[in-house]
Symmetry: C2
Subunit: 244 residues, 2 copies
């Protein structure tokens, strides 16, 4: 039976996140329903990243095994025809039987978007974190470098994290400002629960002057979540790409 | 009594457009209501551009005369506190008593956004015109040049136009592609009803090969609306800036 790999874009605003939850509609549920509508099967859909409610994706990856004889690439138009406007399959193809969207992933790229205007932006509603205070971008760029490398990131993940190991490797954190928009691009081998949002919140706190650049190293080493910055809100976060 | 000039951003998706209409909610109505909530006055709000339903604005300009003693720049935070999330005042300041947002305007800049991906984009829902066919961008760039200059644009406006003169001057039409996104930036001294959307629709038809580049000159000169391209949908259009 073919193992189908799909790349998925979604606007996370109206969902409880990727993963199924009681009494809430998840992105995964909606796609499973669409696959059932097209094939008649209820498949087990494995998503790579459990994005939170309000988090968006340009490149979520999920896979499922199917008895269907639909050619793998035809799942794209078939599913898009029945999916709602805020979810789309960008690509579908057959992967090796061993492919697992989560375990086979080598690294992930996320983007965090900050709207640093003085006034909230209607066209960025649900799409960015609105920070009207002045932010020192140069300090944010310097602070970003301290996250790069292999570290125990327990200070930068939710207290709700159930990960066995908190060691992750971050390959790059880039902070760029274009007009009033600050983009924080993070590439790593994996991320703990809320980790990108806490890195973004910590960098915003550095920009505001609430956290000193020279304290970042100690915050990571110390391992105390309370010393890091806030968890920046979900609507600024975009899952951009998963590398295999 | 001070004449207040405001710059306004909005997501036009949920409105019947800028202008008041029976049995529908307009952007203008909502701002007039917000001004009444703040000042107690029902003002006459004059908008520069009568954007259609679904059209967005980063830089609409409107003015009103008020008896209120609120400092002009304080209308920005006061109105934003009561306006819905999809409308925001970016700036408010006192203008000369003669300033009229429409009659004083010297030129306007619009952007038209085409999503030229193979698959619809959830994150560009209501924000772009989805064109999944191949478009020859080089031909679109060449065709764009023919619109520049002073022309009678009756071939490129809605049959519903009630303009006395159809002569307008276009200073620039730029077509640029970044990834799958094509942006058409148009700067002119004024625009007829639906004119930017018909220019965009005509350029997309050139990209598709339905209209030949060498026919554009004749289409403008001929004055027959039917020879030009379709009226591209409103959700791709953004009012960017009005120059005074």
């Amino acid at each position: 039976m073919p193992n189908i790999k799909m790349t998925i874009e979604y606007d996370g605003t109206n969902y409880c996140g990727w993963q199924t939850q009681k009494n809430a509609v998840s992105v995964c549920d909606v796609i499973v329903d669409a696959i059932k509508e097209v094939t008649g099967e209820t498949v087990k859909l494995i998503g790579c990243s459990r994005t939170d409610s309000g988090v968006h994706a340009y490149g979520q990856v999920a896979n499922f095994v199917t008895k269907s004889v639909i050619p793998p690439e035809k799942f794209t138009p078939s599913l898009n025809a029945v999916l709602p406007d805020d979810i789309a399959i960008l690509e579908s193809k057959e992967a090796s039987p061993k492919f697992h969207s989560q375990y086979s992933a080598r690294s992930k790229i996320y983007k965090y978007v900050v709207n640093n205007s003085k006034v909230r932006s209607p066209l960025l509603k649900d799409r960015a974190y609105f920070v009207p205070w002045g932010l020192k971008i140069t300090k944010m760029k310097v602070a970003a470098e301290f996250f790069v490398g292999e570290h125990d990131f327990r200070a930068l993940c939710s207290a709700a994290s159930t990960a066995k190991s908190h060691v992750r490797t971050i390959y790059d954190v880039a902070v760029n400002k274009k007009g009033n928009i600050i983009e924080i691009d993070v590439h790593g081998d994996g991320f703990l629960y809320n980790m990108v949002r806490i890195i973004a919140g910590t960098l915003v706190d550095v920009g505001k002057g609430r956290i000193a650049v020279e304290d970042i190293k100690g915050i990571i080493e110390n391992g105390d979540r309370k010393k890091a910055g806030i968890t920046a809100p979900p609507q600024g976060l975009y899952l951009m790409e998963i590398k295999y």
